[in-house]
Symmetry: C2
Subunit: 206 residues, 2 copies
């Protein structure tokens, strides 16, 4: 609140706060706190911080196959001969890929869309890596595409759009199971989740 | 959670996340989100961000008088001849100074301690700008020192320490009024605040 009324008494701090506040989820008040923290550091540490950001932005490129960020032409997953190239898992961004990798069970490849279709945010199909997904899917050998997209309006819209796009490839389209989380009490699950876990119930495998 | 188990598949992203996560209140998960956001930006914008941090750290120094960050030898407040040099307001950091300045009523000068005494965090009196406060207070002309420190164990400890240090200067020591906030309902005020607003009650000025 007070930041609107009072000018920060240094043009350089003001500029740093402006930059910090461009990060998602960082308001001007938090930005000022972070910048003042930076100000209290050794200059060499601030330089290290700045250089790490620039080096990351300049050294990391999307994998030419799956669009996951990588420092080489092809990412470590795509170039791993032990991965199963017949299955592609489509994710919104690399964080979802990392979450799935953490489980350590999936042996197929990924395709990072780079977002989901969201007219509200001005994100259309052309902004996502959809064409390359269609080409990969149509290539010989791909048998299954797992749509691991968020369970939201945008995720559902994107899945629907992809399904239509991939219809001609005759690939098996699957999606992640949605339901009550392991360890979660039924009474605390939300209605949509309970509804899905009921309608998608599976044979008891005891 | 998954960040502990899975390695981020790029040394450069990992290094940037490490740096981002050194900021206070930014965990590794948030750091990854911010770094991936950076990755999606134009390289020139990332460079601007990095340069703003370095320029801020290198161009901003503590005011030689009050220790508020400034780009000159003496900050704008200290060098403003219209400010009343007989009153010093002691604050923990510049954000508190900015909050007070936003009110636009205080015409005296400030003294930025740079923290409060906190044995738990390894902050002792020697880490704060206390010696220069004693020297400023002892200089001719200073009549009142307002202790505008946080109402916490650390703030109280610091105020007590400063009061002892400044006892010999025979300056008038005051502290900010604590009580029920303007517009706040009595029933929602916490006990400590209510207790203070009662014990520090003042004559009704109708």
């Amino acid at each position: 609140m007070y930041l609107r009324k009072v000018q920060i008494p240094s043009r350089l701090i003001e500029a740093a706060v402006d930059q910090m506040a461009t990060l998602p989820g960082i308001g001007r008040r938090t930005a000022l706190r972070l910048v003042l923290h930076m100000l209290g550091r050794d200059a060499v540490r601030v330089r290290d911080f700045a250089e790490a950001m620039v080096a990351m932005r300049e050294g990391v490129k999307p994998c030419s196959t799956c669009h996951a960020p990588t420092e080489s032409e092809t990412c470590a997953t795509c170039s791993d001969p032990r991965r199963d190239g017949t299955t592609l898992c489509v994710v919104e961004d690399i964080r979802d890929m990392l979450a799935l990798e953490a489980v350590g069970e999936y042996r197929g490849l990924y395709h990072v869309l780079g977002g989901v279709i969201s007219p509200m945010d001005g994100v259309g199909p052309a902004d996502l890596h959809i064409d390359s997904l269609v080409i990969r899917t149509a290539s010989k050998g791909v048998r299954e595409v797992i749509l691991a997209l968020p369970a939201s309006m945008e995720g559902d819209t994107t899945a629907f759009y992809l399904a239509r796009k991939l219809r001609e490839t005759e690939v098996l389209l699957t999606t992640l199971a949605r339901g009550v989380a392991v360890g979660e009490a039924l009474q605390y699950a939300d209605e949509a989740t309970l509804s899905r876990s009921l309608s998608n119930r599976i044979p008891y495998a005891g």
